[in-house]
Symmetry: D2
Subunit: 139 residues, 4 copies
Amino acid sequence: MLTHTVKQIVKFSEVDSLRVVWHGNYVRYFEDGREAFGKAYGLGYLDIYEHGLAVPLIDLHVNFKRVLEYGDEAVIETTFVDSPAAKLIFDYTIRSARHGHVVCTGRSTQVFMEPVSKELHITMPPFMEAWKKKWNISD
Amino acid sequence: MLTHTVKQIVKFSEVDSLRVVWHGNYVRYFEDGREAFGKAYGLGYLDIYEHGLAVPLIDLHVNFKRVLEYGDEAVIETTFVDSPAAKLIFDYTIRSARHGHVVCTGRSTQVFMEPVSKELHITMPPFMEAWKKKWNISD
Amino acid sequence: MLTHTVKQIVKFSEVDSLRVVWHGNYVRYFEDGREAFGKAYGLGYLDIYEHGLAVPLIDLHVNFKRVLEYGDEAVIETTFVDSPAAKLIFDYTIRSARHGHVVCTGRSTQVFMEPVSKELHITMPPFMEAWKKKWNISD
Amino acid sequence: MLTHTVKQIVKFSEVDSLRVVWHGNYVRYFEDGREAFGKAYGLGYLDIYEHGLAVPLIDLHVNFKRVLEYGDEAVIETTFVDSPAAKLIFDYTIRSARHGHVVCTGRSTQVFMEPVSKELHITMPPFMEAWKKKWNISD
């Protein structure tokens, strides 16, 4: 199971008038986690772009469990979810660095798209097959 | 079925390097739609706050169907989803003003919380019962 | 003097933990005002882009005078500042819709750039000369 | 001269359709730099808040020199600017980690405010005098 964890300071501008991280900012944290994963394992936006593809989200689910406050840090854990479909799926768990407990979980699903024609790939692109082989992931 | 529609110009700062609205900004559009609904039907954050309650999100689901470009407008339709539970549920449909097609759908679930003690209400608060009666909504 | 005014509801996500609009969001309001001006007078990003140019900011000044709260609206007044230089200058005044007083003022300066070569225009582009003639602006 | 430098990965959501960091996000980088300085020298929002004060911005100036792209990092240098007035002034220089050149400079001015009464301090608060003595800063 490929997973990667990154820490992120909660910014003042991310906190709302209830003095907790505004819910929409977790979507940003997910992308931060996904890109940190991508950097660690060679599957970032720019890596994928070099293979001529973009990976737009088609689905996003967020489950809010507790609040995160200014002064704390978000510990974002991103896990690759293997799937035989031509999709890129990640699971997220965000914890409070200060308290250790889970603040938020979620899942995002992306597809492989030609950036110009906007055409979607219906089978796993070859570079993804190679990437999965490299990291010993088999369906 | 209570529903409300509001139009929103796509901002330059909301568009990403693929020249479409960045996926996280739909969460903002949902809140815009929810607050416009709240203004129309007396169920906004400030209305609820007057009853001594905050309504944090516990769950959010977004389904991305098509892209929205700069120069276009988001037509955000927000629908109240009745539930016997002590929850506030809304469905969203965002359309492109220019093309008419659906760009994104979603659902948010909120709970009723005492802002200071952070205690959650496990039964529907009285003001919500009154609100539902006022708008002829019965479970 | 060309000026344009647009109203904008303060969003919950724009308000910080002091319960006022976070200062960085005024930069967004300025761009909203500038684009609303552009729509009214044919000088929006997309209009300029049709002439093969982008107009990146080179300078921004913001003067914060009072706070703007959730529940209020920002009344954004954008004024074209004529200049013989190859620059696009706008002045902004943001008022509280509720109280009428000035909340924030500012000025932005943009230059004309070829988007691909990134080369800057050192003289006013012809379409701007034509635009100024159309609106009876002469240096 | 007290100065502090912090590195920040450029986020995908911070980049606009011209594929460079959207100008308004530099205001966020300035606050990131200011808060990193505050953490290093004991002058963060929460430190100041412990002395019963908030420090709202009254003035902000940004000078944009070059662009910052996705895949790069912002190197944010924040410098305390001493002043006999009851103000908190910081200068910022943002560099591209990849190219080394300066991308953006700026200055912010904050005042000391009682968060409840919204009253401003017209003389330097005692804790600031103590802070300046601690770090050997004298006007």
